[in-house]
């Protein structure tokens, strides 16, 4: 048995992981979630804003991170629309506009009363990384003369009086790296004391925890937090329980459970093999 595991081709492990993820998807395995305090902090930041508040939604990610971040971006969009907040979408990533368009598609299909220019607007992508944030905090027009559709900001009801983003009631950032949440904290939330919440990839989450709670109100870390956020929304808005589109994160937790169990088993097995190998070498 020991020799079998020592000589095991790593491709069998890839196959096992593939099956561990594929089978729960094929069988539609899903579990209820209990929102953690951190997730509820983020949830309440949007929920407790008065209706019609101005929320800047910066979606700084690309298709490579879509599987992990789209569920939380969709949940943020739905939540803001439920609360009738004014939404200002933008992105600092060149591949970001299609990701923002997905949120616009949610508004068009699930909130037909939401009107472009009056309830939400998409500012699109601007090149310049953190320089864009720096300028937006003082002079929006220096970078944004028109929205993503090419309409002059002076002709859009939501933006014609918007000078900068200092008066935003909340910044919601979904980020897959740089520029992303860290830059928003450094150039907007901290110097201008703007309330901010973030959703980020698992890899990026630990780097944001030191900013909580003074500079960042809360963080959604990876798909687990997205699923908990969806659950929190379903607890509050019960009609969402019938909306399968609003449960993308919850669907992804079935594969997570089986995949993690396999990973834990492999770590234990790897350690057993390692220590067996050491003891055999010592006894020689």
């Amino acid at each position: 048995m020991y020799d079998f595991f020592v000589k095991l081709d790593r491709r069998w492990i890839f196959l096992m992981m593939g099956l561990a993820v594929a089978i729960p998807i094929l069988t539609q395995l899903k579990f209820p979630e209990t929102p953690s305090p951190m997730v509820m902090d983020v949830y309440n930041a949007i929920e407790q804003l008065p209706e019609g508040s101005n929320v800047l939604l910066a979606y700084d990610y690309d298709p490579a991170s879509e599987g992990e971040l789209q569920p939380m971006a969709s949940a943020f969009t739905r939540h803001c629309a439920r609360k009738k907040h004014n939404m200002y979408f933008m992105t600092l990533w060149p591949q970001g506009p299609p990701m923002v368009a997905r949120s616009e598609a949610i508004l068009k299909s699930e909130f037909p009363d939401y009107k472009y220019g009056e309830d939400y607007v998409s500012l699109g992508f601007r090149t310049g990384n953190e320089g864009v944030i720096k300028l937006m905090t003082t002079d929006l027009r220096a970078l944004y003369a028109n929205d993503v559709r090419g309409t002059n900001l002076d002709d859009i009801p939501m933006t014609k009086n918007l000078k900068n983003i200092q008066k935003m009631d909340l910044i919601v950032n979904v980020s897959a790296g740089t520029p992303g949440s860290k830059e928003w904290v450094q150039y907007a939330a901290t110097p201008y004391d703007i309330k901010m919440v973030a959703g980020t990839t698992g890899v990026g989450a630990p780097a944001l925890y030191p900013y909580i709670p003074n500079q960042l109100h809360g963080v959604l870390g990876a798909i687990k937090a997205a699923a908990e956020y969806e659950q929190a929304m379903m607890n509050r808005y019960e009609d969402l329980q019938d909306n399968d589109n609003a449960q993308e994160g919850l669907r992804r937790m079935g594969p997570q459970l089986v995949g993690h169990m396999l990973m834990i088993a492999l770590i234990i097995l790897g350690n057993v093999i390692y220590f067996t190998q050491k003891s055999r070498e010592a006894s020689r």
Binding site: A22, A145, T190
Partner: protein, 301 residues
């Protein structure tokens, strides 16, 4: 025949046979669209947008099969398998997918950067009339030339001078400005948010009392853990004193804190990677193969 060649051939034949069977029986991998008329603004000509619809709406009168989007879907599925094939070993199909990805990403970023940086930000300010008549009809009639934008134009040209056979040093002036300005911006941002504010965040009560003057054990332990973690990790990275005796023991505790942080980071990374894999599998099983239907896109078909 080599064993790997045999395995690949068998997998290809099995996969191809399944696709033929699936396509001929239940249907798969098709994208349907509906034409939506867009109202023109002012004197501009109107146009038609094609909006993707769910496959179960395909029998509706104004819905048709979109060949371009269907081919795009199949290409996406092919490239997903091409990248997955690296798990078996490095191969030509993977290399091809990798090259296409890098090339298209670079091309896309270049086009977006040119449009956004040169056209929208620079030429719009320097030649508003020309831009209004050509690419940017939303430029207002009273827009004036911003002569200050000659500075970034000149700096941009100086940067491009690197490509010339002589006088490459000219680009250093623009580069020096860029590095200096970026360093200054970042220094202030880091100093304020990652130094001053982080110190402020760690000034916290070591014993947390409830309004009833009872010690809140959970919060107290949390604050003590944060303080211990900060102090021991700082000692670990303090190399002016040799790590032995008390300093060595404290630094060792710091290593434990760091290891726990790395472990949490690893756990998060595993979660992230599995989420990405399940996202890709959902694409293959749902959008392409039509094996699952989690959001009811094909109900009633």
């Amino acid at each position: 025949m080599k064993q790997s060649t045999l395995v690949w051939t068998a997998l290809m034949l099995l996969g191809g046979g399944f696709l033929v069977y699936r396509a001929s029986t239940a249907g798969m991998g098709q994208v349907y669209v509906r034409a939506v008329e867009v109202d023109p603004e002012g004197d501009a000509a109107g146009w038609t947008n094609e909006v993707a619809v769910q496959p179960n709406q395909r029998s509706e009168p104004d819905v048709r099969l979109s060949w371009s989007r269907t081919i795009g879907l199949w290409i996406a599925a092919f490239f997903t398998f091409a990248i997955f094939s690296f798990l078996w070993g490095d191969n030509a199909i993977y290399k091809f997918a990798e090259a296409v990805f890098i090339g298209s990403s670079a091309g896309y970023a270049m086009v977006i950067g040119f449009w956004d940086g040169i056209i929208v930000l620079l030429f719009r300010r320097l030649t508003p009339g020309l831009m209004r008549d050509s690419f940017l009809p939303s430029v207002p009639d009273d827009a004036t030339i911003s002569w200050w934008f000659l500075v970034p134009l000149v700096f941009g040209l100086m940067m491009l001078w690197r490509l010339a056979p002589t006088g490459g040093w000219i680009s250093r002036w623009a580069l020096a400005f860029f590095i200096g300005a970026t360093a200054g911006l970042r220094l202030i941002a880091y100093f304020e948010s990652d130094f001053v504010e982080q110190i402020r965040s760690t000034i916290m009560p070591l014993v947390v009392m409830a309004p009833t003057w009872q010690v809140t054990l959970g919060h107290t332990l949390k604050n003590l853990t944060v303080l211990a973690g900060i102090l021991t990790c700082i000692v670990y990275f303090f190399f002016s004193v040799e790590h032995k005796g008390v300093v060595g023991r404290v630094a060792r505790v710091g290593i434990w804190f760091l290891m726990i942080t790395f472990g949490a980071g690893f756990g998060y990374t595993v979660m992230g990677r599995i989420a990405l894999l399940s996202g890709r599998f959902e694409f293959l099983f749902d959008d392409w193969l039509w094996i699952i239907d989690p959001v009811g896109k094909r109900l009633g078909m």
